[in-house]
Symmetry: C2
């Protein structure tokens, strides 16, 4: 890649989440030079999502003083099943009417006038931590992104490991045979106890049965429609009993599930990201390490556990790394 004088070799990166779209523009040294955020469309279909992605990266490029067509490329981290060759996305169940296959890379590329590459959202966030963030000192890493769901990404021997395309589904490690029903329809998955979506459902059911909690009052007083990561953090700060109980259960499930993956892979480090992981921060990461420890087989020493260093923008920055090959 050559960078002409005056041409900043800027790249775009987009993190396509179930609730929001985060777009960044970085320079050749991966330094952030622009960003934008907008809500993910809740109606319509894949073309509407593609339009929102184009608008977000265009806005981020404007804040960086670059034309979108002048970007050397744009990377997208997407949920669902991503075809790495074509950049098509299928089964993105958190997005509106996105069960089938949609040629996201080529559609977005023609809107923007620059090449577009698409990767799995959690894997690109793990790559970002490996190249630029908390996982830089290591060659084998498990990234765990704890938010609405619990996703995982792997770096083994310095390279991403995606298996047949579906690796890293740590949220669906079984921690209780015939246990709680997960959002995926299966039983006993770690995510059934730890995912923010399932935690909210469980809190609602307990309230219906008469349990008291500040959770939903905090949600309303902060003008939210969902129990966001910061609502959970506020409730814990107030020693809300139900919130404490549910997060304790989540940490127990995360400890067992992550330790199971570590026992199979024996990685050097575990990086905790995602909305809840980042909101709770380093003290929580150390609590999680203690919760994992009794289950870890090769504990001489156990793997290091750190919070993702790139924060909320890690997904978008990781996506921008996909755009380096042009």
């Amino acid at each position: 890649m050559t960078s002409l004088p005056g041409a900043p070799a800027a790249r775009g990166g987009i993190d396509l989440g179930g609730t929001k779209i985060e777009a960044v523009v970085v320079d050749a040294n991966n330094k952030l030079i622009g960003s934008a955020r907008r809500p993910t469309p809740t109606a319509g279909g894949p073309p509407d999502v593609a339009a929102a992605l184009a608008a977000a990266v265009t806005e981020a490029a404007e804040t960086a003083g670059v034309q979108p067509a002048a970007l050397i490329g744009v990377g997208v981290g997407s949920p669902g099943v991503v075809d790495p060759d074509t950049g098509a996305v299928s089964s993105a169940r958190n997005l509106p009417n996105w069960e089938g296959r949609y040629e996201l890379a080529s559609e977005l590329s023609s809107r923007l006038g620059t090449p577009v590459s698409v990767g799995n959202d959690v894997q690109v966030a793990t790559n970002a931590e490996f190249e630029l963030g908390a996982a830089r000192p290591y060659k084998s890493v498990l990234g765990v992104f704890w938010g609405t769901g619990v996703g995982g990404g792997l770096i083994l021997d310095g390279k991403p490991w995606v298996g047949r395309g579906g690796a890293g589904e740590i949220g669906h490690v079984v921690v209780e045979i015939d246990g709680a029903r997960c959002g995926c329809g299966r039983r006993g998955c770690m995510e059934a106890y730890a995912g923010r979506g399932q935690l909210e459902e469980r809190a609602r059911r307990r309230v219906e049965k008469g349990r008291k909690t500040e959770l939903f009052k905090l949600m309303e007083s902060h003008g939210r429609a969902r129990l966001t990561s910061s609502i959970w953090a506020r409730a814990l700060d107030r020693d809300d009993k139900l919130a404490t109980e549910l997060i304790d259960g989540a940490v127990r499930a995360l400890g067992a599930g992550i330790a199971s993956a570590v026992n199979v892979l024996d990685v050097e480090a575990v990086i905790i990201g995602g909305g809840l992981g980042i909101r709770f921060g380093e003290p929580f990461a150390q609590r999680l390490a203690r919760e994992m420890h009794p289950h870890i087989f090769n504990d001489q020493p156990p793997p290091d556990v750190h919070v993702a260093a790139l924060g909320d923008l890690g997904g978008a920055i990781g996506a921008s790394l996909l755009a380096r090959t042009w």
Copy 2:
């Protein structure tokens, strides 16, 4: 490697198990040309085990018409923690008085007059299936060896994956938080429900509480001191209720635990070996695949499941592959 006329470039391989030592001699094409078996010493210490290993491979070499010193090398698959550089073995808890470190490779090499290399027993058995057995068609494989314990080995992108030296501990994937006590001292491990050692303990406790079973009568009438794989198979053939119940529980735990590992790694195939895995054979492997299926996230299609093709000698043949580098 050059093979002089009359010198068959024969190699030795030894599988060092908790109850028996299996030794083979193979030619340059990995064809079996000699074998021997003897019990693992139950008293003494590492030097006594080394003497028994030397005697076993000497006997195998004799059946092949080769002097031990004429072998181009000998490989050993060992339990415990193996130092791949020196061939020292530590913490081999199933072997007599083998808590500390013992220089197995150099000790055995001076006894035999030929180079000796040592690897992890389960990983060499997985390598054997990958190079010569049921996993030949695949590039990513999880080997599961179901016997006294449950061990695992990994091939990722055509190469063994050992992590920091302790990968593949699939027996200690957590399938029930705060569940049954495992032989390792932890709780809820897959091995606590599926390992032959734990199954026997559970059977004994049930009998003490008055449960009826043919298991221990069969053990005595076949002159065994333990519930071996073939005793379990015979009890199942007779529809023994306790044996059926315990093996059902083992299969449920194996299904959940192996599926958890598959959800993280998304390998192409799972190979089932070990005493129980081989004794129960292909119908059991297909039953296990059905038990895994409800937990598998990327099930389009699920990974293939096969029985180890090299049978009881897979560990020793895999060990002989370690001796190829001279």
